[in-house]
């Protein structure tokens, strides 16, 4: 069975850097999705995702709450994305790309809020969401992976959806979408 984020982080902090691989594997998908939303560009997002993981590894010893690894990682990624914007703006030859990226990122802003909200979920709920949507497992496969009954998986998903919607409603993005669906 997979270890928790806290356990992996502690193993890395205790001198097992190879275990960082498992954290990269766990969060590469959602981090990439988040950065694609921020940067509007897959190539830049991939570069930023790599840089974010490397910086996270270098600062891992400073992480006080290992159970909050992912939300901490998103904070780093946000700063990396900002640096990329600034760097691109500085480079004359890439001005057009930067403008496109800024425009795209503006359009996509509500999208990356979902990734930020996932990061805030308690780990039990986040784990099920990540396996279901970012690793593409079916509910029975999630149940098998986490060694839990199928009913618990659907209940966990149900609770995770409720938490996500509750958080997203603060920003109004889900409400707007539902309103559009109900009153086209």
């Amino acid at each position: 069975m997979d270890l928790t984020d806290k356990e992996y982080v502690q193993r890395c902090q205790d001198g097992h850097p190879e275990d960082f691989r498992l954290l990269v594997h766990r969060y590469q998908g959602p981090l990439f999705s988040y950065l694609t939303g921020r940067l509007g560009n897959r190539s830049q997002a991939e570069e930023a995702a790599q840089e974010s993981f490397v910086r996270a590894f270098q600062s891992l010893k400073k992480l006080r709450k290992p159970e909050s690894f992912y939300s901490w990682l998103l904070g780093i990624a946000g700063r990396v994305a900002l640096e990329q914007f600034r760097s691109l703006k500085r480079r004359q030859q890439d001005r057009e790309v930067a403008e496109t990226m800024m425009a795209d990122a503006g359009d996509n802003q509500p999208e990356y809020l979902l990734d930020e909200t996932i990061a805030l979920l308690p780990e039990t709920y986040r784990q099920v969401i990540l396996l279901r949507y970012y690793e593409g497992l079916s509910c029975p496969e999630v149940a098998q992976r986490l060694d839990m009954p199928l009913g618990t998986v659907t209940k966990t998903l149900s609770r995770a959806y409720a938490l996500l919607r509750q958080e997203l409603q603060v920003s109004g993005s889900v409400d707007r979408t539902i309103n559009q669906m109900e009153h086209p």
């Binding site: 190879e18 990269v24 270098q58 999208e111 990734d115 889900v174 979408t177």
Partner: protein, 444 residues
């Protein structure tokens, strides 16, 4: 079924995990209850978003590059710690005079070597500061007709030549056995020999067709200066030795160990080696101070791999005007801007992997009308002969290349050719802005 029971089963219902009877009951309740219908719609909407986010990330695989960088930094930190401990131990274990002497030797010896290497580099840059022309000849690991910007440590060597005339007017030519690019002062042309394909830019370009890194190198004075600046700024290890050639001439050999995360000004930046260490060896003539040869090695645990070498450099020699004239066959397939198709949407909706599959399958059926939808030109005869009747064996996960545009994807593939041979490479597809279709760029 009441509302509470319906809400309990809603996720299982959406996931298709309920039995037939329970599913019917749940759906019947949703049809009659506005509140549960709204709840259903909200969850389905959230699910759609989650699926879309998951799909965005489906192709990404950065575990290995991240771990290479992470472990590299880890090793670097350990090395620094060992050095620091070593000095501490010397300081504690020896007499004060002994420790001072050793440290003095280290401090004096190391900068002395670095200063000498730096001096040779600086004088080398100065010696080639004003060139009227240059001709570089060497070899690189890559496919004979592969993109100029795609050196690949897994490939065999092919020869490569580069001519550049700075005065009286700028002209250049880069050539490998299967690919040549020429700028004759009026226009810039790329010709791919095995497939008989060409692309023409109707104006002179300072650099084109992914030859930028070769242009950087050919601008030798800047290259050497940049290399020296980067080595000093980044603290890359520099070394110098001397050797005597068979002619009796003495050569100064400067070695620079460049570490990953290359600076933007580095000529190997974005050439697949950003996350690898490289060792660059520069041979200067000790008397003229001019650069005579360059070797680039990829540093690997299993042993360094030579990936690029310039073994002959001719300075300021008049270049035969014929070098800048490209004689081409009459039936060259010239690149054209892709046009929208009547069923364009179908192709615009494809992922890079789906487009690669459709392209190879069309070639397998020898359906050249279909295959042409993925080419920026009529399918060249050379490609028809090569790909006709092929069988797709496998497709890998698409990836992007650092420095390539956002719409460029490389899809690893393996096909079995009509003659039974297996052919394995990465097809380069570019998302065309006008049509939204994935169009072939290279990699066959």
């Amino acid at each position: 079924m009441n509302c509470a029971e319906c809400r309990d089963d809603l996720v299982a219902c959406i996931e298709g995990l309920l039995g037939d009877e329970e599913s019917l009951q749940c759906q019947a309740h949703i049809e009659t209850c506005a509140a549960c219908r709204a709840e259903y719609a909200a969850i389905a909407n959230l699910q759609q978003k989650l699926v879309a986010h998951g799909q965005v990330a489906a192709d990404v695989s950065i575990v290995e590059p991240v771990m290479r960088r992470v472990l590299h930094k880890q090793t670097e930190q350990k090395r620094n710690t060992i050095m620091s401990k070593l000095f501490t131990r010397w300081g504690l274990g020896l007499s004060a005079a002994g420790a001072a002497a050793i440290i003095l030797i280290v401090v004096l010896a190391l900068p002395r070597t670095q200063a000498t290497a730096a001096e040779v580099m600086a004088k080398g840059a100065q010696a080639v500061a004003k060139l009227t022309s240059i001709h570089l000849s060497g070899r690189v690991r890559t496919g004979p007709a592969e993109n100029f910007g795609y050196p690949n440590p897994e490939s065999d060597f092919v020869t490569i030549e580069f001519w550049k005339q700075f005065e009286p007017d700028l002209k250049w030519r880069v050539e490998k056995p299967g690919r040549v690019a020429v700028m004759d002062g009026q226009s810039t042309v790329l010709y791919i020999k095995p497939t008989n394909m060409g692309m023409k830019v109707p104006h002179p370009s300072r650099s084109a067709f992914d030859t930028d890194w070769l242009h950087k190198i050919a601008n030798l004075s800047n290259t050497i200066s940049n290399e020296l600046n980067n080595a000093q700024a980044k603290g890359w290890k520099m070394g110098i030795t001397e050797e005597t050639a068979a002619t009796g001439r003495v050569k100064s050999v400067v070695t620079i160990e460049a570490e990953s995360d290359l600076p933007d000004s580095d000529y190997l930046k974005n050439k697949q080696f950003d996350y690898s260490d490289t060792r660059r060896v520069y041979r200067f003539d000790a008397q003229t101070k001019m650069l005579e040869a360059v070797q680039i090695y990829l540093t690997r645990d299993s042993g360094d791999v030579l990936i690029f070498e310039v073994d002959q450099i001719d300075y300021n020699q008049p270049i035969d005007p014929a070098v800048f004239r490209l004689e081409l066959p009459a039936n060259v397939s010239w690149y054209q801007e892709p046009q929208k198709l009547t069923d364009n949407e179908k192709y615009a909706a494809m992922t890079a992997q789906q487009a690669a599959r459709a392209l190879f399958e069309a070639c397998g059926r020898e359906d050249w009308t279909e295959a042409a939808k993925f080419f920026p030109m009529p399918v060249p005869e050379g490609l028809k002969q090569f790909l006709g009747g092929c069988q797709l064996v496998s497709l890998g996960e698409p990836f992007t290349s650092q420095g390539a545009g956002p719409s460029d994807q490389f899809v690893p593939y393996e096909i079995r050719l009509k003659n039974g041979e297996l052919h394995k490479l990465n097809i380069h597809l570019r998302k065309d802005k006008q049509t939204g279709r994935w169009i072939w760029e290279g990699g066959i």
